[in-house]
């Protein structure tokens, strides 16, 4: 369970997050919705350790937790970025195996064995040798998900998972997120799509832009 308590964040005097608190229970999907500029992505970046909040605290399973110091093989938070940030110079399987090899220190053989079921379950078996530029948007997203899951994060975060996909894929990714929930993965989904959020989430948290 992840708890956020009174998170504050400003950029150049503009307040983005004001005493924001929420609870993400284990094996649930929490969706964060709101219009552009409401601070959804900033919130996600704080949880992912890509921004340091000005104040506030995080608790993971009751223990104090600093996302910015969340490093190495013990890293707790996985992220699927809006435009995926796949590594163009690596094949699909190398994208997925990079962190298990470099961070966890697995051999190529160990990593291959570990990621194989993951690759299978996400329907990526046929494209493992391809490079990101050869993939469709939906495939890229599944690679990004596999890459994050290969590090077995406690929580998987998504930034706008529907925005880079064509509308017909919206339901597919929704189903995928629900499937991952069945496998016991705790997920945080940032989206501007209220309908999508309500469809997949156990809990919808709405953020509003703050008036400066």
């Amino acid at each position: 369970m992840l708890e956020l308590k009174n998170i504050n964040k400003s950029f150049a005097q503009r307040k983005i997050l004001n005493n924001f608190s929420m609870i993400v229970p284990d094996q649930q999907i929490v969706s964060i919705v709101g219009p552009s500029g409401a601070g959804k992505t900033t919130l996600l970046r704080c949880i992912a350790g890509l921004e340091r909040p000005d104040s506030g605290s995080f608790l993971l399973d009751g223990q104090p937790f600093d996302p910015v110091e969340d490093r190495g093989s013990e890293r707790k938070i996985g992220v699927v970025f809006q435009d995926f940030n796949l590594f163009p110079n690596l094949s699909v399987v190398d994208n997925i195996m990079l962190a298990p090899k470099m961070v966890t220190g697995q051999t190529t053989k160990q990593a291959r064995e570990q990621v194989e079921p993951l690759v299978d379950s996400l329907g990526l078996t046929r494209v493992v040798k391809q490079y990101p530029f050869q993939l469709s948007g939906g495939q890229k997203q599944r690679v990004a998900i596999a890459r994050a899951l290969a590090m077995e994060p406690a929580i998987l975060c998504y930034d706008e998972p529907t925005s880079a996909l064509d509308p017909t894929l919206r339901d597919t990714v929704g189903q995928l997120i629900l499937d991952l929930k069945k496998r016991g993965i705790t997920q945080i989904v940032v989206t501007h799509d209220q309908q999508f959020a309500e469809k997949i989430a156990d809990q919808v948290v709405t953020v509003k832009p703050l008036n400066a």
Partner: protein, 215 residues
Amino acid sequence: MSLTYVNQILPSLFSGAWMTIRIFFWTLVGALPLGVLVSMGLRSRFSPIRWVLNFYVWLMRGTPLLLQLMFVFYGLPDVNIVFARYPAALFAFILNYAAYFAEIFRGGFAGIDHGQYEGAQVLGLTYTQTLRKIILPQVVKSVIPAVGNEVINLVKDSSLVYVIGLGDLLRAGNVASARDVTLVPLILVGIIYLLLTLVCTYALRGLEKHYSYYR
């Protein structure tokens, strides 16, 4: 252009060409890694490092390489730094070319989407791992055409070493041309330069092709 004459002067031209190739090769070996390091320093958060390196780049790009060669060989002995001719040439060439390479690599680094660093960070990779596995391979791919230009330039710039008395290809041709009062040696010199740059051109194309497996 009698064949006997050509055969007579070719050995001296080849020995000059060998000097040209040595300077070319060792300058690349020294200047490419140094250029990468300087380009990283140019992006440092620590402003004195940036200031010093920007000054270095300005100095190297802002004065003629010919002047730098003369300065290293004839000027530095005044402050008790004495180089023999060949090391002096390499020293000046490496410092000069590293500055150009640094600017090229700086552009290459700037062209990498910040999301690549973040993608690596959230997987738990260290900064060094990120550079080695993700950033540098992409930078290298993106700078090949610009670096290639400098590489071709270097083949020809190496002829400047005559000023400190080194016997390179052009000098060998010049000597023969003046001695025998004929342009034949200089024509041969031109042809040898063309062959050298042709080899470079093909090597660079090969390198571009090698990296074309992704976009």
